[in-house]
Amino acid sequence: MIGLDAPRQAEAGPAQATGLSNETRFADAFRASETPMIMTDPGRPDNPIVFANPAFCRVTGYEAHEVIGRNCRFLQGPDTDPAAIARVREAVAHGEPIQVDLLNYRKDGRPFWNAMSLTPVRDERGTVSSYFALLSDVTGTRQAERALMREKEFLAQDVEARNRALQSALDQQTALLHEVDHRVKNNLQVISSLVLLKARRAQDAACRVVLRSMADRIGALATVHRLLYTLDDVSRFDLRDFADDFAIELGAGIDPERISLTVEVEALAVPASMAAPLALLMHELAVNAVRHAFPGDRRGRIAITARREGDRLVLEVWDDGIGLPDAPANPEAFGRDLVGMLVRQLRGSLVVEDLAPGTRAHVVLPLGSGSSGSGSSGSGPGSGPGR
């Protein structure tokens, strides 16, 4: 390959017919190759091109005679990366091979990406006698790469913009939830205050009792709202947290010497939509036991339990008091009606057992999602469950 001195006749003319030496055959092969190739002579001033094959001429648009004798730099142009050129110069200075992507320019000025492989060719003494360069037009690849890169950048920006929009929407939602939560709590305090104020001013004792019991019901709802949205999952409500608070409030109203109260509620996250009716239900059943199971100085026990059984909640309120009253015309019948309505709203079932002595209210409520809709609320007032 070293003797490739043929480029003198440079012009990609027909091979000489005379005596097909190896050198001539090599030269013919290079000329016939579809790969653009040039050879330069570092022995001459400015390392000029001494051979260029027709493929090179096709890629660059130059005639062979236009390039022979010139240094390769005429292929460079305004957007050729100086760093890439410096790398080539470095490699040439050290007599090392190099592969580099260069933005080169055709004769008509159109740029093309040239993946160039430059190899120093040494003679028997090890001196670099020529440089052999293989060119490859990779403009298409580079453009595809760049298009891909742009697409990636665009996608990344798009994703980021969407993330920002989502975050901002989430922030707004959170702020709104807090605002509404705050208002609900504040309004419950106002409502409770109104009822208690009226109770304080009521002349009639029975009226005061009624207003107080309404205030207690509002209090049960208030406890629910104080505890809602304290779990990370705002759609759930922790029944035990409620029961703990509720037990303290209930316990404050009874004489511990006379009535012992136990509350055993499993840590149980119930759907938030169940929270208010469930709390009211627990309140009505418990208050009913406190008020009516132990008339006079009667002593006894009250136990409230709630546990999960499969996809159902089992709530029991038990007492060892006087059992079910016979007289249905109890002024507190409203409490029983409430219980019936709440159980229906929660799509559950209620059984009240007269244990003689004592009473047990046994409530089973479905916990499944969507089973606690409020659409069925209180459509039949006064028609409590049979008890």
Binding site: H178, D181, H182, R183, K185, N186, L188, Q189, V190, S192, S193, L194, L196, L197, R200, G219, A222, T223, H225, R226, D245, I248, E249, A252
Partner: protein, 145 residues
């Protein structure tokens, strides 16, 4: 009732809540000395009436200024501040000098218990356990007493 009667300033912009609190405080054997609905009123009343306790809502008639009120009032010797708020998240980590937070909606029992606890503290006795329903400030930040 443990301890002496406390002089209580109510800082609350909801008239019904304030009125009911006054009744409740009286009923519990303490003295409601005034009601402020705005931050400037609260600061002026605290100066003029020298209460022992201030119950301070975060949201007042002039905005979420209860925190600044607590900051100012808790700097007064002998005055203990308790937040009463539906927006406990607005209270800074150091409680702005307040001794604790009562979350709205609260029950009468919680207010009674909180006042009894503070009366015990003012009396000089060793403080009992924190009353249920009151979140006490971190010890280092506890004002009043």
């Amino acid at each position: 009732m443990s301890g002496p009667a406390l002089r209580v300033l109510i800082v609350e912009d909801e008239a019904f809540i304030a009125l009911e609190l006054e009744c409740l405080i009286e009923e519990a054997g303490h003295v409601p000395v005034g009601v402020a609905a705005r931050s400037d009123e609260a600061i002026a009343l605290a100066r003029d009436l020298a209460p022992d306790v201030a119950l301070v809502d975060v949201h007042l008639a002039d905005g979420p200024t209860g925190v600044a009120v607590a900051q100012d009032l808790s700097g007064r010797p002998g005055l203990t501040v308790l937040f009463t708020t539906a927006n406990a998240k607005r209270v800074p980590l150091d409680f702005a000098g307040a001794a604790g937070i009562i979350s709205k909606p609260y029950s009468e029992r919680v207010i009674r218990a909180a006042l009894a606890y503070l009366a015990g503290c003012h009396h000089g006795g060793a403080p009992t356990d924190a009353p249920d329903g009151v979140v006490l400030a971190p010890l280092a930040d506890r004002g009043g007493d």
